[in-house]
């Protein structure tokens, strides 16, 4: 199904005209979202888009390059804190601060990429895990980062104050449009990167790093580059995250967040940009919206409360989402290792070859 026969097919954006039309309509529809959703749902949507950026970045590292990272919350934290500090201490304009916080994060990614040249498998997992924990603790200790109390985000000023242009975004709707535009740029950029020489080098490293090296892919450059690009995405995501929450504290960036990032791309499908988007949307929605208030669900909610009163504790019901996520992960890996993207591919194949098998 994913067979490509010539170079042109590999680099083209859309296989068919109508796909392009559908994509354009979909993006237009995205811009009308604030009409249907308000208040808390819009906040959730902003959060979802931030996580989409991070998930796409993580998928470049895990899905396309085949490395493991259980420390992405660390890059996320670096981005968020760098963003706030650049804007409050150095009074940088928003866009410059966002790009710069991405690059600071990418620099950390480059550093973390260096051990990946020697360390593999579970050992790499522990190195990245250690990185995430270390970042969290450094942030929690140093006064510059506000310690355990965290930092307050400055007002979101999109203009350049030095030139006298100031445009402060205050409502969720304005933030939504800003984040939506950035998300679309980042996702399209990711899709483009994967169609260039760099992207093909990543895939080659995933399939067999030694064979890739024999074929002229410089592992030093491309492995660290993959970490750096992935960290750049996480950094930009973190920068936006600090404005969505307008407040950051160290323990938001714990190991569990890194795990949830991994869950997003595994549920969505490794090595698929669209898959990581779907995964991020689904998991964030489940976590922050559907399962957060499991007690208010029709029928099921009452039933669960009754069970809780009889055998469990009602307070503990808030952790129901953790159970559901665990079960979802297990089901996805056992029955559909390619994630939701795998289901889509099979469906497409079925439709195209119908009525034959």
């Amino acid at each position: 199904m994913e067979m490509k026969r010539e170079y042109y097919e590999d680099i083209q954006y859309f296989k068919k005209k109508w796909v392009m039309v559908v994509a354009a309509v979909f993006i237009l529809l995205l811009f009308t979202i604030p009409i249907y959703f308000t208040g808390y749902s819009l906040f959730i949507l902003n959060l979802i888009m931030v996580y989409v950026i991070v998930a796409v970045g993580l998928n470049i590292l895990v899905g396309y390059t085949g490395q493991i990272s259980i420390g992405h919350a660390g890059f996320f934290a670096v981005g968020a804190y760098a963003m706030i500090l650049l804007m409050t201490l150095l009074h940088m304009p928003f866009i410059l601060a966002l790009v710069l916080s991405g690059f600071i994060s990418a620099f950390f990614g480059f550093l973390l990429g260096l051990p990946s040249l020697r360390v593999k498998g579970p050992y790499l997992a522990i190195v990245t895990l250690g990185f995430g924990m270390t970042i969290m603790h450094i942030i929690g200790q140093a006064n510059l980062f506000g310690g355990r109390l965290g930092l307050q985000a400055p007002p979101l000023d999109v203009g350049v104050t030095q030139l006298g242009l100031s445009w402060v975004l205050t409502t969720d709707v304005q933030k939504f449009y800003l984040i939506l535009i950035i998300t679309i740029i980042m996702v399209v950029a990711a899709r483009n990167i994967m169609k260039t020489r760099i992207g093909r080098a990543f895939v080659a490293i995933r399939d067999d790093d030694i064979a890739a090296e024999v074929n002229g892919v410089d592992l030093l450059i491309y492995k660290t580059l993959s970490f750096a690009i992935s960290a750049f995405y996480a950094g930009v995501g973190g920068g936006l995250f600090s404005f969505v929450l307008s407040f950051v504290e160290p323990f938001q960036f714990n190991v569990l967040l890194s795990i949830i990032f991994l869950v997003m791309i595994i549920v969505g499908g490794l090595g698929s940009i669209v898959g990581s988007i779907v995964g991020a949307v689904l998991i964030t929605f489940l976590q922050y919206s559907l399962l957060k208030n499991v007690r208010e669900l029709p029928v099921l909610g009452d039933w669960l409360v009754a069970i809780s009163q009889k055998w469990f504790t009602v307070i503990g019901l808030e952790n129901f989402n953790s159970m559901i996520l665990g079960i979802i992960i297990a089901l996805i890996i056992i029955f559909e290792p390619k994630g939701i993207n795998g289901i889509w591919l099979r469906f497409k194949k079925y439709c195209l070859t119908w009525p034959f098998k």
């Binding site: 259980i70 020697r118 190991v255």
Partner: protein
């Protein structure tokens, strides 16, 4: 004197890391699965013993036996539900799968016992101390060191002399050849999970006696244990135990000099060690052939 005291306390904590590390290694050795749910499995077992002690007033040793038996079956059950159905799993798949088991257990425990912090009391208290010419050692430290040495000796004898232990070692070396020799490889995997669940339950019980019992309490000890296991090389049981002891001592000494950074010393040490020796201190580094 104070250094000796610190080293002793470090050794006791290190024995905890070592014991839990052994649990991780038993699984990794037989099936190359890194069990990220080990800490939470131990936490669940500790909740069971707490429940038995507090709600049913079972005497401690009976409660311990019941808990260990239940942990044994919990290990088998998790292997059966999560790992057995997966075919041709990659490393990432198995890691995430055990994380899934971890989240399931975490959710279940916090649903059943909620997030309140509880105190688990065992007969070997942390407060009961003996004084040997200025060096203070607690009952707890004696108990954990004894337990870990006994389990090490037991495992050594088990792997060396029993038929099943030999089958387990054979599975580690070559799964298919072991199958051809007539050993039941499936049962070996179940047994590995069962053993590691029991040992993990013991280790977690000692960890939790020192801190408090709540669903998230084993998260950080487990990560450090995993770091210790990697330090020792993830492959040899004595290596991991020594790694655990080293980590405990290093951490305690650093914690004395520089208390604020105690939680991350472990990881900094690990990253440095892994950059120098990519397969840990005590494991043979295999060069992969293409």
């Amino acid at each position: 004197m104070i250094i000796a005291q610190l080293i002793l306390e470090g050794l006791a904590t290190g024995a905890c890391y070592g014991l839990l590390g052994i649990a991780v290694v038993i699984i990794y050795k037989t099936s190359e699965v890194v069990n990220f749910g080990q800490g939470e499995m131990g936490m669940f077992s500790s909740f069971i013993i707490y429940h038995l002690l507090v709600n049913y007033n079972v005497p401690f040793f009976q409660a311990l036996l019941i808990t260990l038996a239940l942990s044994f079956f919990m290990g088998i059950l998790i292997e059966f539900l999560f790992l057995k159905p997966v075919k041709n799993a990659h490393l990432l798949d198995t890691i995430v799968l055990t994380l899934g088991a971890d989240m399931l257990i975490l959710g279940l425990a916090s649903w059943k016992w909620s997030y309140e912090q509880k105190q688990l009391n065992i007969p070997w208290s942390y407060e009961k101390i003996h004084d040997f010419q200025g060096i203070v050692i607690s009952d707890w430290a004696i108990a954990i060191i004894t337990t870990s040495i006994v389990s090490m000796v037991f495992l050594y004898l088990f792997f060396k002399y029993t038929k099943f232990g030999i089958a387990m070692r054979a599975t580690q070396q070559n799964k298919f050849a072991t199958k051809l020799m007539g050993a039941n490889v499936e049962r070996v995997f179940s047994a590995a999970w069962a053993f590691s669940s029991v040992i993990g339950a013991l280790a977690a019980m000692f960890f939790i006696t020192r801190s408090t019992l709540d669903p998230a309490c084993m998260m950080e000890p487990f990560l450090k244990t995993f770091a210790a296991a990697v330090l020792g090389g993830l492959m040899s049981i004595p290596g991991v135990f020594i790694g655990g002891l080293m980590l405990g001592v290093i951490e305690n000494l650093f914690g004395f000099v520089w208390p604020a950074w105690k939680p991350i010393v472990a990881f900094v040490v690990i990253v440095i060690v892994l950059c120098l020796r990519p397969s840990g201190l005590f494991a043979k580094h295999y060069i992969r052939k293409v």
